[in-house]
Subunit: 251 residues, 2 copies
């Protein structure tokens, strides 16, 4: 069996509505979780940018060069502010126009009479793109080089993501374990640092304060591609918890 | 009266927990809304990056150069994975160490006995930084050049943001108007494009599909620093709504 390697991705959220604070993004955590769980791909950077062509082009080029995959969301609908497809084409200097298969899919879905100019726009994209089929509302996403372009509406995006899977090289899955403790971070910070040092390069240990049941607590999250290393870290953490007599909320 | 100019900002979210999808970010929309409403500052880019020093340094330098202000969130607590302060210092080549005033604030808050090494770490930052006072949990944020560093916990960040105001140059506020219509985007896409063309440079018109009360709808959001121009756009939009006999959900 070929040993799996680390595979990474970036997410590019395209849309004034997210940037202005009007809309709360829901796609980042969905895509990131899905990629890790299903494909062993780790998201290493997210950018949110406005509906401005030169900004989209610049970011597509930059992220495409620096990461194995790029997932864009938003800007592939029928209105004037949907400019992702033309921007991707420009970024890679490929022809932008009607995609034959996408055109057929949409024409069939709407019927010839209702297939107006707005709807036809959704068949325009890099003409050589591979399609990401859309079981919710027909209009497909598309793959150009290592860039996967998906819609911004979370329910539609969620229904399409499985169709990306066959195009992705699978990497090392990152597993995680969480202990939720009733303590403050500064009570365990030296111990966490020393455990992190011991497992350097193999495990990432994160510490996140929370407020629950009227009490302050800390979630200690360990992440690693090795389950054995995670188990060892958990054992070391439990020693600290016992020696400091810290109450556990959940493991 | 001096005429206000456009002032922009970027947000840099620092934290593996957001990137991995474990935690849903709440700070982006809060900061973006607050900046526009209170200071007339428009957020033009958001990046989410991991707790990796060289990545933080690179992004701080890049965003600080390209935007009027940068707001970082996360990584200023007491644990080993909190490396924002040292990274900001490195990015600007300024001295990192105990900040005298921050040290005093924290020593007073915890009392000399409970002021342990973990807590002392929160007084370490660029030594010449201006402080952003923290009414919730004492540990201050800090300002280095045009970079404002805030904590990641939303309730604490929210309580501190007003203390940034006096350090910010106020810009042109962007106003917005929304019409929620029961229609599909492709039914109005040509008309929206033509209105957008008419008010090019003055108004940004965005179109966002929604699903409510079991029906499909479209939110048309117009954004501009000119209230008059917004009113004109609304009039033009209402003409389209009437001529197409579209039902309005809300204005």
């Amino acid at each position: 069996m070929k040993k799996k390697k680390k595979v990474n991705a970036a997410i590019l959220i395209i849309g004034n509505e997210i940037l202005s604070g009007r809309t709360q993004d829901k796609n980042i955590s969905f895509i990131s979780n899905w990629l890790n769980l299903n494909c062993g791909i780790t998201v290493m950077e997210v950018r949110i940018i406005p509906d401005v062509e030169k900004t989209i082009v610049k970011n597509i080029r930059n992220l495409s060069k620096n990461f194995n995959y790029v997932f864009t969301t938003g800007g592939i609908g029928p209105t004037h502010d949907d400019i992702t497809a033309q921007s991707v084409a420009k970024a890679f200097k490929v022809k932008y126009g009607y995609h034959k298969e996408a055109y057929k899919i949409l024409e069939h879905y709407y019927g010839e009479k209702k297939f107006n100019d707005g709807r036809k726009k959704m068949a325009k994209m890099p003409v050589t793109a591979k399609l990401i089929y859309n079981p919710s509302s027909a209009a497909p996403g598309f793959i150009t080089k290592n860039v996967f372009s998906l819609p911004g509406v979370p329910s539609i995006l969620n229904s399409m993501i499985e169709n990306c899977k066959k195009y992705l090289i699978k990497g090392l899955k990152v597993h995680s374990k969480t202990i939720n403790l009733f303590t403050v971070e500064s009570n365990i910070s030296l111990q966490l640092a020393s455990i992190q040092k011991k497992y350097k390069r193999f495990v990432d240990i994160g510490s996140y304060p929370f407020f629950r049941l009227g009490k302050i607590g800390v979630s200690v999250v360990s992440r690693s591609s090795s389950k054995n290393k995670l188990t060892s870290v958990q054992k070391d953490l439990m020693k600290v918890v016992k020696s400091k007599k810290i109450k556990i909320l959940s493991i």
